[in-house]
Symmetry: C2
Subunit: 722 residues, 2 copies
């Protein structure tokens, strides 16, 4: 890619961004779009200020919002995500303040004898490369500045990450020690309960076990059941109920006009409502509902009685007791009566709770192996794609496209975007697959699954996108050399880095201009909403569902950000010109996501910032990669003092260990001193208990089966509830 196509790419991205911003300003002013641009405020019952909004009002609002606002509107997890964004932003700003004025002149004024062979991207000399370390000749004393810069970046990262960790812990502790009553703070999850002894019931077994150990502080227990069947019937029932209210709404609408008797809606009962017998929808649904309600009832009873599993939720009188119980070894063996803190009611993955200890362990290793295979074998398709999407190849492989491609403008645009778009589309396919794998590990909570997915996705991105693209063709052509001697890998990485600087510059720019533009303007949700509103939605509930904004998707957002961190850190010293791009990415990201967090997205769970150690560790991984790369690159430059860089990766490892030792335990377990002050008033234990009853047992539509009966059934199953 030459310099002009780089500028074209940058310019195009910027124009798209400006257009999206204008669209946003225009659309967000229309009151009918409020549900798209302010859903969080609407659901929280706040007003949506409309009058006197200039195009910069939202920016002002974001900049003036405090961390407490974010916690209130979007929870601790979101606030922690902003700590991550701002920490990375500051790392880049502080690094940039030294690196840009120091390195750019040094690189720019260097007289390079080997410039042709060393510093060009794909063989053509350009202006950007003049500003990179590749332009400094081998063994030059100017390299000292780059060495110092490497240290500067690392030290800044350590300092700011350390401060951020402390800050996040404070956020976490404030939230955990808040005096509101949170069900998960009174509950522990018990797994791997041994087989029920002869003549006892599961519930009696659990009750007597915990009663013996915890005495007064023990409240009651809830045995986990296999809810698959109940859930299915319940879903079916819900479906018919929604269909019924939809049909009734349609019927009501048809009445108002000239025809007072209206048209009764009909539908086909076959596959997808496309084939089969025509029936009166209202009648049909009513019939089905009256059929399903008793079925659900009897299935609920059977489930509670006969489908109990070897896991339970155990409730305590106060949160100190529950916290303490969750951290202590109860059983003689770890693989029975295994206790952990309970997840929030809304994020329990019921189907995973019954899995046995060693099954979970084995599954984990198997899934790690599968992920490793995935990461490795995806390299091959990615390699093909990046080889395929060069213009020359395209012209060769698709000769009928020749006339289009050969036009100068099309050529430039295609050359600029094609490889990046291919990559982005490619990556979009992956998260669902990784999420599925993570869930299969037997993890009991959604937030943990999301963290696990995010971790896998990060390693995938870094290995495939970053290292894959960088080594790209080099790796394939010299595959045999590598096999013989893996120690050439690092210098090779060092050599291929500068050649790909412009590729990654464009990649970052595309991500922040187009990605964040789309994010802010919410064009796609807007279009979908309006289509649904016009053609599909008849009832209030359906409409609400159509604009429900969902949450910030950390499973893909965090690893994407971390990929950018890796890229920018790796290039920060080699081609410092990338730093402003990184600053723009995280600055714009902070601003736009702040708006989205305050006004759009609604978090579906709260894990009290448990994502942080995950992000912290991976920023350090990114730093480690960048340090290793720098060692390789200095090796290529034949700089005699490059051994001075060797302490850096060691320092990173030590820093990681120290942080882990000092801070991590407080994320894994809740410290007792944090929950020592008890909640306001006496906690409503009954309410806490009920909040864990799975939704398929607590439909508000069916009042034949309420929570009391749920409990009664447990009682009938053999024990008295105290």
């Amino acid at each position: 890619m030459d310099f002009s196509s780089f500028l074209t790419s940058l310019g195009t991205s910027f124009i798209i961004f400006v257009i999206l911003m204008l669209v946003f300003n225009w659309l967000s002013k229309k009151p009918s779009n409020n549900v798209i641009y302010y859903p969080n405020r609407i659901i929280k019952g706040l007003d949506t200020p409309m009058v006197g909004r200039t195009p910069f009002t939202w920016m002002k609002e974001c900049l003036s919002s405090t961390e407490a606002d974010v916690v209130n509107m979007a929870g601790v997890d979101t606030a922690v995500y902003f700590v991550f964004l701002s920490t990375v932003l500051w790392i880049l700003v502080v690094s940039g303040l030294v690196l840009l004025p120091l390195l750019l002149p040094i690189a720019g004024t260097a007289k390079n004898v080997t410039s042709k062979s060393q510093s060009t991207s794909k063989g053509t000399f350009n202006d950007l490369d003049k500003l990179s370390m590749g332009h400094v000749k081998r063994g030059s004393p100017r390299l000292w500045a780059f060495l110092i810069a490497t240290y500067w970046v690392s030290l800044v990262t350590f300092y700011l990450l350390w401060k951020a960790y402390k800050h996040v812990l404070e956020l976490r502790f404030v939230a955990l020690s808040a005096s509101e009553e949170k069900p998960e703070q009174f509950t522990i999850l018990v797994r791997d309960i041994p087989p029920v002894p002869e003549g006892q019931t599961r519930k009696k077994q659990v009750d007597s076990y915990f009663k013996t150990i915890h005495g007064e502080t023990y409240y009651r227990s809830m045995v986990v059941t296999d809810n698959k069947e109940v859930n299915q019937i319940w879903k079916e029932l819900n479906g018919y109920q929604r269909k019924l209210s939809h049909a009734e709404a349609v019927f009501a609408t048809s009445k108002t006009t000239g025809k007072p008797e209206g048209t009764r809606p009909v539908s086909k009962i076959g596959f997808l409502g496309l084939i089969g017998k025509k029936v009166d929808t209202i009648e049909y649904c009513n019939e089905k509902i009256s059929e399903l309600v008793p079925k659900l009832e009897s299935e609920q009873k059977t489930t509670i009685k006969d489908k109990q599993q070897a896991a339970a939720l155990v409730f305590f009188n106060n949160r100190l007791a529950a916290t303490s119980a969750a951290q202590t070894l109860h059983s003689k063996m770890l693989d029975s009566w295994n206790v952990t803190e309970a997840p929030e009611p809304c994020q329990v993955i019921w189907s995973n709770l019954h899995m046995k200890f060693f099954m979970r362990e084995v599954r984990q290793y198997i899934i790690y192996a599968i992920v490793a295979l995935t990461i490795f074998f995806y390299m091959i398709p990615i390699g093909f794609i990046s080889a395929f999407t060069t213009l020359k190849n395209l012209r060769k492989l698709l000769p009928f496209m020749k006339p289009v491609i050969d036009q100068a403008e099309v050529k430039t645009v295609l050359e600029a975007f094609l490889p990046q778009i291919a990559l982005i589309v490619f990556l979009a396919l992956l998260p669902k697959y990784l999420m599925f794998l993570s869930k299969a590990e037997g993890i009991p909570s959604k937030s943990h699954v999301i963290r696990a997915t995010s971790g896998k996705y990060f390693y995938f991105s870094v290995l495939n996108v970053f290292i894959g693209v960088t080594l790209g063709a080099t790796l394939f052509s010299t595959f045999k050399t590598v096999q013989k001697d893996t120690s050439t890998l690092i210098p090779m990485l060092g050599e291929s880095l500068p050649a790909n600087a412009t590729f990654f510059l464009t990649f970052v720019a595309l991500r922040f201009f187009v990605g964040y533009g789309l994010e802010l303007s919410r064009l796609i949700p807007l279009i979908i909403y309006h289509l649904k509103k016009k053609y599909l939605c008849k009832t209030e509930a359906e409409l609400k569902e159509a604009w429900a904004p969902g949450d910030i998707n950390y499973a893909t957002r965090v690893p994407s950000d971390l990929l950018i961190v890796t890229i920018v850190l790796c290039y920060s010293v080699i081609a410092p010109i990338i730093i402003p791009f990184g600053v723009a990415y995280f600055g714009l990201g902070w601003l736009i996501l702040r708006n989205q967090a305050l006004k759009v997205y609604i978090p579906t769970y709260e894990s009290y910032g448990r994502m942080w150690p995950h992000m912290h560790k991976r920023v350090l991984v990114a730093l480690f990669i960048s340090q290793i790369t720098m060692i390789g690159f200095f090796g290529v430059k034949k700089f005699p003092y490059s051994v001075l860089l060797i302490p850096l990766p060691i320092l990173t490892v030590v820093f990681t260990l120290v942080c882990n030792n000092k801070f991590y335990c407080s994320f894994d377990d809740t410290p007792l001193e944090v929950v020592a002050c008890d909640v306001k008033g006496t906690p409503d234990l009954e309410l806490i208990y009920r909040s864990y009853i799975p939704p398929c047992f607590t439909s508000d539509k069916i009042d034949v089966f309420d929570a009391h009966q749920f409990e009664y059934e447990f009682a009938k199953a053999g024990t008295s509830v105290v």
Copy 2:
């Protein structure tokens, strides 16, 4: 070493053993030696059965004693040590039952074309080598038998270790759940207490912190003080008191005879009582004591008031609460208010308690580095010694010894023993040094220091004695080759193994015949006791001190046993003839130590079998080494199916991990269900508290300062004790 010198060595060892056994039988019958042969029974107030003892009575007693007897007489730790001995014994017996009948005929009948170069010890062909795997020629199908044997040994080890782990856990749990009141079960150790806030005292700080979190179950606290000075004065005072009673006894003895006024003993007050002014001992001591008592008192007060440190012992009302508290994260950061289970009062290392979290971490790493250096650099002296102690070299280096050495019998004996004795003497110097290093890590309890020492000593032994001796000269001569390519190390180990088989056979035999002979006959303690009794001891206390038997020294005994395990496992397939030697070592060891445990040694602490995971892990390390060695040796034998051995070390790692996951946590923490049933009656908390008062504050000689005052001083220091 040729075959005859091997037989000589074996014979000599056996003769020494028989003599020692006869000595034991003769001496142990004399009632005056009871304190040497039955001290444990005497201290426990049991009778020492004397009449009608045949030379085999002690064996019968040992064989008929149950595990419960061992636990009663010598504690759980000793019982666990016997589990270790018997497990290894069974591993060897069961392996031997298959390996000896299978492999010896196969090796013995093999026609070996390359026998000269492959299977000889130090160049001379002998009968022992015929029975080893070295005798089977390269690529022979007979090697299948050896491959299967390797699997058999590993599987037997896994099975028996698994069973033993379960058994040890049961022992541990029975002891922990016993209804007697054990101070350490009511106590936790708190370290890294943050600085005292303005206007508070340390004690108030600790009290209020734990009172807030634990409420009702909290009893009281004891702040750790810097006792160095007090301890010194106390020791000095104790010394004078003992000297005084000794002098009084001497004076009393001198009275009885013709001189009724007696001779007042005198002594010199200079260096070691050899120089200086002559004084009347009784007067001098009384003077010193009356001088030191007030000094001790004032120092005690100062210590309690001004030398408080950032650590404390915290006492609870019941052991369930203490166990639970010891396992939970109290503080927001791990490096403040760090809690652990308290060690037994007798094994607290007071001087280590104040060390800060990160200081402990750093010290640990530094000490690991020092130990690694020690292990590496000791290889050089060991190499020199084993090169030096061959007869040829001895004759060359010490020419004046020539006439002695050249006698045929002397020559054989020397050749047989010299290298082994050199090695054993050499190893005797080490444990103190390693113990010192382990203590410097900041470990709070004696038993833990002993475990740490034992671990270091094991790796030292295995690396230096086993691998060092095996590779011996080979390594030094080919040092440059190894440096170039470390992958030759394993085949080299494989090649040098058979050559050293007879060396290790002799080594093992020497250890069990002479070592255990000396152990049983207790010749050295007996001689020392009789000398002391005759010339030094005048008072009862001094006499008791002279025969005090001490405990089984696990710090050196366990790694020595583990070294034998490593040697025997490594050679079990290569030269199965070593198995009977191993069986004899562990069988004899079990028998003789059983006698010593029941009648002689008195354990100084009880860690409820925490040594077990340590021993278990190291048996697996030994197995792992043997598997790796076998892979190397099969490689040398050019056996095409030797790849089938590769799963074995992987299996060992998996087995280690599974055991660790399943069992280890119960050693690290006490499971709540074990201590759920509370102790008989109400525990005497006052007594528990007092048992932790350091001895320098509770001398029974000085009644001016009793435990109540100790507590009063704490109270005066600023807080009220509830």
